[in-house]
Symmetry: C2
Subunit: 196 residues, 2 copies
């Protein structure tokens, strides 16, 4: 499982290189400086290669973040099977999301860029939607094999992603350095209780 072959690893490597380069360029020089040409030049690759991997710059910029989102579902699956689903989410998500986000000022910049650019907003929503779907699958595996529970899993995954998105937004624009993990825990707890 940890050996998907040299070929795939190389492909993933170029993807990651391009994505990280695009991400850094956005943070350091602004979104306008990020183009398929500029990114592939900075990464020592052909512009055509960029387009082979990504539809556009927004997809490239957020690709690595998207990959990390997908690991959340795996961490859900790694928890003991009999653990109640809410305990599982509360155990996994806050630390994982906090680690994934890292520096607050970086995300403050990202949120600003997203707010200014419709295409970045759209791509960010796509990332969250894919995260939601993968979470819903993992949740559904835990709860039951019934098809009927699919709706429940979707609802729960949606709530979880909403909690993530809301806390990250709040955290990113907060002046005081409140802990993201605590913020997310608070949001999830509220949702579990049922929002007064």
């Amino acid at each position: 499982m940890t050996q998907p072959g040299l070929r795939e690893r190389k492909k993933a490597a170029t993807r990651a290189t391009l994505s990280r380069t695009a991400w850094s360029m956005m943070l350091e020089q602004g979104l306008d400086a990020v183009t398929p040409e500029s990114v592939s030049a900075a990464a020592d690759m052909a512009p055509r290669t960029f387009r082979y991997h990504f539809r556009n710059r927004e997809e490239a910029i957020l690709d690595e973040l998207a990959q990390q989102h997908l690991t959340l579902a795996d961490q859900i699956r790694a928890r003991p099977a009999q653990e109640p689903i809410w305990d599982c989410l509360l155990a996994v998500l806050p630390p994982a999301v906090a680690q994934m986000c890292g520096d607050r000022t970086v995300f403050a910049t990202l949120m600003r860029v997203i707010g200014d650019n419709p295409a970045m907003l759209a791509q960010n929503l796509v990332v969250l939607e894919h995260s939601r779907l993968s979470l819903a699958r993992a949740i559904n595996e835990r709860t039951s094999t019934e098809v009927h529970t699919a709706t429940f899993a979707n609802l729960l995954a949606g709530a979880a992603v909403t909690a993530i998105s809301t806390s990250v937004a709040h955290w990113a624009q907060s002046t005081t350095d409140t802990d993201l993990a605590d913020l997310l825990t608070s949001c999830l707890t509220q949702l579990r209780r049922g929002l007064p």
Copy 2:
């Protein structure tokens, strides 16, 4: 308030005409048949006008649906001020969403198209996000004037939009003609209780 001037009404009219035309063409001839050129031709307008109003075909197709989503917030505001927020949501959303969606087969087609086209998925998510934001504003007005409650309103609005999106998806692909309003009521009730 009901008289925004002839100018704005005319602009809204051409927007609506283009959007409805694009919507119909998607349903009847498939997404591939929808282009700025074909739509504006069918609507007796210049392609340049299409691009003046819309960024791309996906935005045009979903524009009217987006407008209807924005009316949800107004309907929330129209409820008695002392009504508990969950009662308010349960009273407004199910009937409003059911009326907004109309025919099930139409939405089944829409969901299929969304599933097949990344750009349509992205635009649909943008519509839902704008809906979420307008709902959050309306909810925040009702609950309190405190800035602190903004997070709560966002969480609640996110949960509501998740409920809408989940029920519509479930309803659209259901073979039996279950009532969309009942489905949404069920989802909202689950969220209010806190998802066992």
